[in-house]
Amino acid sequence: MNRSLPFEIFRYCTILAALAVTLVPTVWMASMAFKPIAEWSASGADLTWWPRNPTLDNFRFIFGTSTTDLIVALDRTAAKPIVASLLSAIFGTLIAMVCGTSAAYGLSRFGSGQNLPLALIQLRLFPPMAVMIPVMIMWAFFGMIDTWWGLSLIYGIVTLPFAFWLMKTFFDDMPREIEDAALVEGCTRMRVFMKITLPMMRPALASSALFVFILNWSDYLISLLLTTREWVTIPVYMASLSSSMTGQLYGAKAALGLIAAVPPVVMGIAIQRHLVRGLTFGALKQ
């Protein structure tokens, strides 16, 4: 808006300050992940922003191959929780995307399921904590507590609103001429959807799926309630990384936190063009 030199200086100073605040927590954790145990809780004059003796011990430790300086041994490694997080997030995304995409198409083209938009917004509105009692009872009844498929199912339901709304706005935006032409050619509507619409929507499907995956991957509360031991996800496992002898295992937690934080950040930056659409239920496009 303004183009004066003082304004430009002000702008850069403010933005750089904001970037510093943005990066400090992330950088601190990343640096902690490479610090040897002696530097974990260094304070005062010993506190360093960069590891003095960078090491990969923390990563080796959580995967159970090294216990050099650590007196404690893990009763299990981070490998299984990572698999649990991946499996439940991937299959949760699959459930949300399949149900959400087909329902969005059904509504956008054939006007079916008029109740869905509002019902799904409401689903998103309520705190998960307020509906978890029946969910825990039902999941126990179906034997889905502490299983990756049980987690996938609830993830699929919780993120269904996002998949549905995102795909609905994409379908609404899509010109129908091509579909109409194929119909005139004698294709059935199902065939048009499978063979023409879906392939055309591949970029939209990919960004929606990534968006939904980030949400599923980020969950903590649901996994905390629905898994107990075998299939705990990364955040729940992370909280268990402390011992009565050594207290918080800072470096180990940071290493795991780094592993957990990198995929969504990379994916999020990859789909930043669609983030606004996703976060506002398609009310706003960039």
């Binding site: 808006m1 059904g106 054939f110 006007g111 199902m190 959807f193 509360l221 909280a239 930043q272 976060l279």
Partner: protein, 318 residues
């Protein structure tokens, strides 16, 4: 491209009406079926179950299935207990307090940053991407980051010591007021980017020719902002605020990892409170009553908000 766009705009009435051939209707039903089933599965049955359990003292430790919860039937005792449950009301108040501070701060910071990002400058794309990082960090991991930062020997105290020149070793997370500040700082850090992202998308949509005309007519920056930008941004601002209010009300992950609701109950929000009653006290009948009360209040608020929005839309049409 532009030809397609104009063509699409013309027959709006025709393209808005859906395909209603019988085959199309069948396919539409078929396609929406899975989503409908999931919604029913998660909404109707659990709600009825919750209503039933909320009128009993049932606990999973009772050794009887939930369907036999009538054995400990207490009609509305849970609800009357809730009305005088001091811990519940203070958790609710604390949630409201966090919301009342975090959401406006996030909004103002996000708006300020968004204004700085409107026009082009060197490094804009890179800065923009970095700015979005916090909201994509897993909230539980963000909670852990701030847990580390706020340790008494941690970097926050280190920075403050350097700035003030006196050694500060405040144990942020172990005293009630500072713990509350710490969890709010974490929330603001993580969600200001969301406000920034949404508001920037809105600001970019403000028509440039109007702005230029206003500038030529001698309108000051503040005038232009008030008379052109704000009216155009009204809906977007409401959406951004609504999203943050809703999500902030649910606040759990970061906060629980940082403080576990403590020290004592100093940072216990409504979600943390329900979680604790669920996991530690295990009186699920009571939890169901709390949950239903919250659902009811939220539903009323939502119905009210939607009613207001519809009324406003009708006014605009008339």
């Amino acid at each position: 491209m532009s030809a397609v766009a104009t063509e699409k705009k013309l027959p709006i009435a025709a393209s808005e009406t859906s395909d209603t051939a019988p085959e199309a209707r069948r396919l539409g039903l078929l396609l929406t079926l899975p989503a409908q089933v999931l919604v029913l599965f998660i909404a109707l049955f659990p709600l009825l179950m919750q209503l039933y359990i909320s009128m009993t003292d049932w606990s999973p430790l009772d050794g009887v299935g939930w369907w036999q919860a009538w054995q400990s039937w207490n009609s509305f005792a849970n609800y009357t207990d809730l009305a005088v449950d001091g811990r519940f009301w203070s958790a609710l108040g604390r949630t409201a307090l966090i919301m009342a501070i975090c959401v406006p701060v996030e909004f103002l910071l996000g708006l300020g940053l968004a204004i700085l990002f409107i026009d082009d400058f060197v490094g804009k794309r890179l800065f923009y991407s970095i700015m979005l990082i916090p909201m994509m960090v897993v909230p539980a991991v963000a909670g852990y980051m701030f847990f580390m930062l706020f340790q008494s020997g941690g970097p926050i105290n280190n920075i403050l010591s350097t700035l003030t020149g006196t050694p500060i070793t405040l144990a942020w997370l172990s005293s009630p007021t500072t713990a509350l500040i710490a969890v709010m700082v974490a929330d603001i850090w993580q969600w200001t980017p969301l406000m920034f992202l949404i508001l920037l998308a809105g600001l970019v949509g403000v028509p440039e020719d109007q702005m230029r005309a206003a500038t030529l007519l001698g309108a000051s920056w503040a005038q232009r902002f008030r008379t052109i930008v704000l009216p155009k941004m009204k809906t977007i601002i409401i959406i951004a605020l609504a999203i943050r209010v809703i999500e902030n009300f649910k606040i759990f992950d970061t906060l629980y990892i940082m403080t576990g609701g403590g020290p004592g109950v100093a940072t216990e929000t409504i979600s943390v409170y329900i979680y604790k009653v669920t996991q530690q006290d295990l009186i699920w009948g009571y939890v169901a009553a709390i949950a239903l009360a919250i659902l009811l209040v939220l539903s009323i608020l939502v119905a009210f908000a939607i009613g207001r929005m519809n009324a406003a839309r009708k006014e605009r049409v008339a």
